[in-house]
Symmetry: C2
Subunit: 470 residues, 2 copies
Amino acid sequence: MKLYEKIADDIDAAVRRGVFAAGERIPSVRQASQQYGVSIKTVLHAYGLLESRGIVETRPQSGYFVREQARTDATRDHTGPVPVVASEVDVSRLVLSTLRSIRTNAAMPLGSPYPDPTLFPWRRINQYANAIARRHTSWNLIDDLPPGNPELIRQIARRYAENGVPVDPDDIIITVGATEAINLSLQAIAKPGDTVAVESPTYYAMLHAIERMGMRALEVPTHPVDGIDIDALEALIGKQKIAACMVMPNFQNPLGFQMPDANKKRLVELLAAHEIPAIENDVYHELYFGDSRPTTLKNYDTKGLVLHCASFSKSLTASYRIGWAMPGRYREQVEKLKFLNTLTTPSVPQVAVADYLRQDGYDRHLRHVRKVYRQQARLMTAMVQRFFPSGTRTSAPQGGYVLWVELPENVDSMRLYQAALARGITIGPGYMFSTRNAFHHYIRLNYSYPWTAQTENALKTLGELVARMA
Amino acid sequence: MKLYEKIADDIDAAVRRGVFAAGERIPSVRQASQQYGVSIKTVLHAYGLLESRGIVETRPQSGYFVREQARTDATRDHTGPVPVVASEVDVSRLVLSTLRSIRTNAAMPLGSPYPDPTLFPWRRINQYANAIARRHTSWNLIDDLPPGNPELIRQIARRYAENGVPVDPDDIIITVGATEAINLSLQAIAKPGDTVAVESPTYYAMLHAIERMGMRALEVPTHPVDGIDIDALEALIGKQKIAACMVMPNFQNPLGFQMPDANKKRLVELLAAHEIPAIENDVYHELYFGDSRPTTLKNYDTKGLVLHCASFSKSLTASYRIGWAMPGRYREQVEKLKFLNTLTTPSVPQVAVADYLRQDGYDRHLRHVRKVYRQQARLMTAMVQRFFPSGTRTSAPQGGYVLWVELPENVDSMRLYQAALARGITIGPGYMFSTRNAFHHYIRLNYSYPWTAQTENALKTLGELVARMA
């Protein structure tokens, strides 16, 4: 191949891939000549070839532009097929696939793990971000190195203190969402090959964190009202070495329970007696349906063995990605790991959230959200009971925005997922919540989205599909 | 202890820690009564005790507030002592310590690894961020799941294409800075216990990434002009199993070289012949002093074995934390690991950078920055030659913003670091760039900051300290 042909082919490929869009300028002749180390003449030759292929056109005094009619490849899809039978299931691949199908089939996102973003005070928070940007002439990265922005840390500590959880601001480390907080916490307390006890069913982010680190998940039976079975856990501790325990005591995803205080206390004491650290995922803490914020494992932690992880992603803003860890006696390790993992969390989002917390109506916003979720939890429960066949059972969420639904045993949630997807409805198949395929006939439904006639129609359609499969 | 005393002590502690600041309201009596599960009377008793201790005061109709004179603990310092002798050195701890001393001794940050933030087009980028926030009524996290925001990805691909690096947008994955890109890339290609070849001296972020994964760094001699010694690397490959190679071919930190094209090509071919993947850290690619953007290893990568990592943190905005990976044949693994590590990169910063790249004067900004850095590189080199004793040698940076200085052999850079710090000057001690203590008499100096009489005085002071130690 001649050199000018190679240059033409390079640019042709870039246009097909959408790198240079219709109407956009391609590199100038001088630029291309310098870049490819060839003569102006060679570039002109290449560009002439592109013109004759109908890919670019010249505009007087301006250079070469991609023609509006230039061919581009159809948008490629990385989704890949969603596994259909249980044996193929790779939890994180399945989760990514379902998330992508929510993106492209946004019609009825009952399978979404995220809260409806339209309930977030998006404009207010962005106003703070804008004000911060205007106040400063530049921003020094060094100011917000781990543990993070001091004012944000103080505001977080203050909310805990107001809710009866005594927290030292020095114990808090800001992270990129609770996802990073959980990953860093796990890395601080366990190593590849170690066994980590988790709830079953468990939120798949927990399984991801364990998978990512090359550790082994030990699934402990979990009661839909009382939480992890402490007797079962105690028996397992007696039989094998458990490096850590990961739980979600408040409004667990997918079960929605609020672990009773007595159980929280007993769990902390059991683990402390065996010097087993606990990672507490408390991302739903603000979304309670009761009268006040529930306690956390941290309330009962006298030995610094609880690594408490949380975020604003479920209650205030998901796209800002602000989370935090309170790692107890593992503070130094987690801070260092944060530094190694992502250096620092973006600055303006941190300060914007701090300003919002200090000056705005977070509590008013939360009261509204809690009311909406409580109502919609009731509505969805009623609709499932109405439209789904007998043999269907639902959880009784005490907070959060997901309902866990047990279907008749012979209904495969992955087949249901596929059939629902064909009708523009997504659901969370039970396969995502265990590596043991223990929940093949369960699904998770998100009730945070605005309740409309379509929601009811979708639940009706789902109920019909389930009835047909049962 | 009585219950009311415990409540008083909790709030007392929170005030000391700064959780409730002077003039701020403490939880209302009703709130505290609910939270602690005690009677209103008990809370009133507790708050009375706090009043008598002089910690809070009542304001009619408003509640209890922290008094302006309330005692608080002195700001605590987590820095910890910086290790003084080589045997104590833990690279990441040392780096964190030096960064913190820059924060608190900002007078003359010659030891900073970051570019002067005042050169960034802070206001312009934030204007785009603000416009995006105003255009939307909410933001759906799902839209920017890995690989990331499509328009940002296209803009990044376009810059590569304009500079003769053919890139498929589908190959790009957005990350939280290059730090995350490098970590994910390394995790995709090597496992704990594996050996990873690195340059020596090497940028410590590389050593961090390796340390974090429980891998072993194999330091390969690196020439201050030609880059990594390919003969030496070849010999090592013949002798032991090397899982990956991490290099910084353009304007390596700390040496500042631009690896010649012939060497880049030979390095890629050598590694390809042994099927060894290469992580290319190209964060300084826009900061060249020559006529055009240098080539990358990716230009010579025919087998998809180069995992190219870069970011906008050195050239456009550090606090937005936008980086990316082009992982070649490891794309799927890196995308999945990104999802597991931090779920997604904050959305508005991604789109703001994309809008800036499409609509604003990035090239004009870069031309200015390059000119400033080129001038200041010359100035600092001249000043070091003038003020430092004989036996001192400097690198000849071809881009970037750091100078590598070899001091007389008997000067210990850690002792110099301590002595300089006492005079309000930070430097980058050579210990940070190796785990073998190979560079105890080297230092790294940052020349990105505005050049003033203080800069010259600081270099003069450093020269005197070195002369005294030599």
